[in-house]
């Protein structure tokens, strides 16, 4: 049944990078289950008109001619601690020297190029949860979220581990905007247009407001909550 929910992800390890949009999480998981990711790999060069978006169990609303899902941007508590972690990668040259064929045992440039050693800084935040206000079908959302074990960047090395997903029913729909001191405050990235005139708490920017958020074809003038 379609209702308003506050969905909370309880984390058991620190979050790396930026938190994800809720529709992107569901879209990722559903496309994995439906096999979309296996029949075609989506890259920046793929035309979005050629692919089908997975039918995620969230309501949609048309804003400035664009259909956006009813889910707020991620809401994070103030981090209890914040630091920069270094993610390192290097070729173990002493290990591989004898494994290589003799003609390839030559000096290797490791300061730049394909074999460059990395020591990349990554923003890490110690938070215990993050939440989204959504309008959708709890049962179907929960089915998808059960397989989402981690959020954010570097999930493969243990960051952003989710220990539990919880749902709280809400009386009002806060997925797009919420009232604060009688004034509507923007809760989600939406296309910049006439709808923004009555809303506060946003910055005018350029980016995507629908998934996939990283795809250049989705880029437009947007109002981003701040």
């Amino acid at each position: 049944m379609i209702k308003n929910w506050k969905v909370t992800a309880w984390l058991s390890s620190p979050l790396a990078g930026e938190p994800p949009q809720f529709d992107a999480i569901l879209g990722w998981e559903l496309s994995r289950r439906l096999g979309y990711k296996h029949c075609r790999k989506l890259t920046r060069d793929t035309r979005l008109s050629d692919i089908e978006n997975p039918p995620i169990p969230l309501s949609k609303r048309t804003i400035s001619g664009v259909d956006v899902y009813c889910c707020s941007a991620p809401i994070l508590p103030e981090p209890k601690a914040e630091w920069v972690e270094r993610i390192s990668k290097r070729i173990d040259t002493d290990e591989i020297a004898l494994l290589l064929a003799p003609e390839f045992r030559k000096s290797l440039l490791v300061a730049s190029g394909p074999y460059k050693m990395r020591y990349v800084p990554e923003r890490i935040r110690l938070i215990d949860c993050m939440c989204w206000f959504v309008r959708g079908d709890r049962k179907e959302i929960n089915k998808l979220l059960k397989s989402v074990h981690a959020l954010g960047k570097h999930r493969d090395i243990g960051y952003g581990q989710v220990s539990e997903w919880t749902f709280d029913e809400m009386d009002e729909d806060y997925s797009i905007s919420a009232l604060r001191q009688g004034k509507p405050v923007l809760m989600k990235i939406i296309p910049f247009g006439s709808e923004c005139q009555n809303i506060t708490g946003y910055k005018h920017s350029f980016g995507a407001c629908v998934m996939p958020y990283w795809h250049p074809e989705n880029y437009m003038e947007i109002a981003s909550p701040c």
Partner: protein, 318 residues
């Protein structure tokens, strides 16, 4: 390919020697890797084994070396092949197309790389393995561990020791040939005016007997991939089971205990870990030639070849 739903492996690793998984230096002292943890509304810095280190040392490195050995590739690899098998590869070419056939072939032939993912020359292929960080079993981490261990298991009610109780110091000396008693005998010329290289170095370590909780989560994988993971862990243990720095002097030795959760296939049949490992070993033996062919097709030798005859002559002269 036979698929398993999801699988979680819980691990407890006991330190058998000082663990020196470092994060940098403070003055001339090496400091161990720590992360911030909230404990009773305070931030504490608690030692941690990074997921990056566990992933490389316990899985990719031993697993890659096993493949190289079993496929008869020792001394026959090119740099891109070695980089792919032991470090996950690098994106070195741009491409507007994704070769799904090549990815499918890789996922069929190399269960280990399907698990870990990696970069072919012009396409990045995601993996299905999530490595959990190694968190120290101490009072500060109690709530984090309790959230992650399987249902029905609980930490003891007694207060665990604080993380600071598990941290110690080590100190060693680097020698200098000029300072040896027999220096005059072994050196052609002893120079007393030269600055000495004798150096005392020290740092922090996690004491032997400490226990780290970590684990692996695998999504949509086949039994042969579970076998690849467990086999890599066996290989790592068989090679000493070291993690972190200073393993040359015995630091970083861990004793691993594994607990298998949700090891069922889609039919609800329980999977036997030993059977999964056997399936993986048989798979590698049966497909060794195909693996070599795939590696040669995907990472062909490029550029001007070195004159091997000249190289051999040069080596003889040396």
């Amino acid at each position: 390919m036979e698929l398993v739903k999801n699988c979680k492996i819980h691990c407890l690793s006991e330190a058998l020697s000082p663990i020196t998984h470092m994060m940098g230096t403070s003055g001339n002292e090496a400091v161990i890797n720590r992360e911030s943890v909230v404990y009773k509304n305070e931030i504490r810095q608690v030692p941690v084994l990074s997921g990056n280190a566990i992933r490389h040392k316990m899985i990719r490195d031993p697993g890659g070396l096993y493949l190289i050995k079993e496929c008869g590739l020792v001394g026959k690899l090119n740099i891109d092949q070695a980089n792919y098998l032991l470090n996950g590869g690098s994106l070195t070419e741009s491409s507007t197309t994704e070769n799904l056939g090549r990815i499918a072939e890789m996922q069929t032939l190399l269960p280990l790389t399907r698990l870990l993912g990696g970069s072919l020359r012009n396409q990045v292929v995601g993996g299905s393995l999530f490595v959990l960080r190694g968190i120290l079993v101490c009072e500060e981490n109690r709530s984090q561990i309790q959230k992650q261990i399987p249902d029905g298991y609980e930490l003891p009610d007694q207060v665990l020791r604080s993380s600071e109780d598990f941290i110690d110091q080590y100190q060693y000396t680097r020698g200098d040939a000029q300072k040896r008693n027999d220096a005059e005998l072994i050196l052609e010329e002893k120079n007393d005016d030269m600055k000495s290289n004798l150096m005392i170095y020290n740092g922090q370590s996690v004491i032997p007997g400490s226990i780290f909780y970590h684990g692996f989560i695998m999504q949509n994988i086949s039994p042969v991939e579970i076998g690849a993971l467990l086999h890599s862990l066996h290989q790592w243990e068989a090679n000493g089971g070291f993690i972190g720095g200073q393993s040359r002097i015995g630091h970083g030795k861990l004793k691993l205990s594994v607990f298998f959760e949700d090891g069922e296939d889609f039919m609800g049949n329980e999977l036997d870990p030993a059977e999964c490992v056997k399936m993986y070993v048989d798979h590698v033996h049966a497909n060794a030639e195909k693996i070599v062919r795939w590696l040669n097709d995907t990472f062909p030798n490029k550029g001007k070849k070195t004159d091997t005859k000249k190289l051999a002559e040069g080596a003889l002269e040396l």
